[in-house]
């Protein structure tokens, strides 16, 4: 099956060590730019309660959920302890000509 690459935004639209929300169809994602300038994408909603992670704080490779401070490593989606215990789904990301794409 051909992978479908979907345009998210310009690479500069995400600040370093930050995250934005990206809605596509009826799905929502969180797209990250790490301190060392790599881009990542995960499901947009926390696996504890359905809260948008993009309102949370990114520190190094960790996103902290804005509701109860649940933490995930956004580079591999792993949940880092209570109250979150279910990992986040991650998605491949590529940057081409200054544009960020994710593969769904």
């Amino acid at each position: 099956m051909m992978t479908e690459w979907v345009l998210v935004c310009a690479a500069d639209d995400i600040e370093e060590e930050d995250v934005i929300r990206f809605d596509h169809g009826d799905r929502t994602f969180a797209v990250y730019r790490s301190p060392d300038d790599e881009y990542y994408a995960t499901d947009g909603l926390c696996t504890h309660e359905k809260i948008h992670l993009a309102d949370g704080l990114v520190m190094d490779n960790v996103i902290e959920c804005p509701k109860h401070n649940g933490r995930f490593d956004y580079t591999d989606g792993s949940a880092l302890g209570a109250p979150v215990c279910v990992n986040l789904q991650t998605y491949p990301v590529k940057v081409e000509d200054g544009l960020v794409f994710i593969s769904l």
Partner: protein, 406 residues
Amino acid sequence: MESLTIIGASEADTRTALHLQERGWDGEIVLIGQEPHTPYEHPPLSKAVLTEGNSPPLLSSAEQLQELQIRFLQGSQVAEIDRQSHRLRLQNNEFLPYDKLLLATGASARRLTCTGSEHTLVLRNLDETLAFRSLLATGKHLILIGAGFIGLELAASARKVGCQVTVLEIAPRILGRAVPAEVAEVVASEHKQQGVEIRCDVKLDQIQALKSGYTIELKNVESISGDLVVAGISAVPEVALAEAAGLDIENGVSVNAFQQTSDPDIYAVGDCCSFPHPLYEQQRMSLEMWRCARDQAECAVQNLLGETKEFSAVPWFWSDQFELSLQVAWLPSFAKRVIPRTRLDGVTIYFGLNDQEKLVSAAGVGAGNSVTKDIRLAEMLIATQKTMNPAELSDPNLNLKKLLKS
């Protein structure tokens, strides 16, 4: 194998029990709660439980407690702590021995004292909330006494389900010293826009029951009538058991930096305790904040397991009213001056600096979770106790994270 007995089965308490189990406590754990319910979250009571009509999320299910071998005495009230013989007396006169004891008895609603105050409802637990919910109906006129967080949340929820709402506040403005005046102003204008009437600077004289409904007589101004009267005039730490047992009490069950009371076998956490805060010159405080209760429970667990853990988390609070969410990293009352930071999206965060230009508080209000990131960063900045440059704090183009890392 030592046993731990926990009095109160709510936020702080249930967390402690679960935490100890996770961390491998090998003694018996007994959880005693006087409410006839499985432990549930309190904050949604004044919010979604009223507006959506759903039940609050459970902190753990009966099965989960059973699986973890936590003995849960539901609907059981502790009547006395007998420290000498290390045992508890329950309301039904049963005795229960303990090795270590954790008090998490919370706080109860402060009652009005004026004539007719028996006609007012209060809302602290699930049963009171369900009773209140059954009385709310479109078009009913609800009079709320006290414009603190819970009062205003009740006002917003009642308005959302179609009630007419009037809030009476004795002080010149809502939310008192808990938030900067500017934040209170945003909240007040949202209530006004949504049709809630807020009257400040009023003094209650008495409450009279009518054939149907009540009249509240006010000093100097016209009286006001409505169908229901609710008081939200803060809470008092539940200290009766501890006091009768001779533990030190100072505006709450007094604990040291390790959540330990004046009896080394007894710990106290959450709304019932008062504790010295290392970030605020060891000033003793008692707070009614959800996350603080949880953090203290974690701290007590570590100490019960033989580690030495001081409580030092920055107090943090949130409140949801209509579509607004307000957050505060405490304590604005310690601030000598306030530095506003108006972001490009129009939301303003108010930072409080003390005499030495150290950050002591941050507060903001906005739609949804829009202030979360900044308040979280502010919390971390408060914890560093670094001296701040006010010009940098107020510059929306300067990333707060940079200040944290510099």
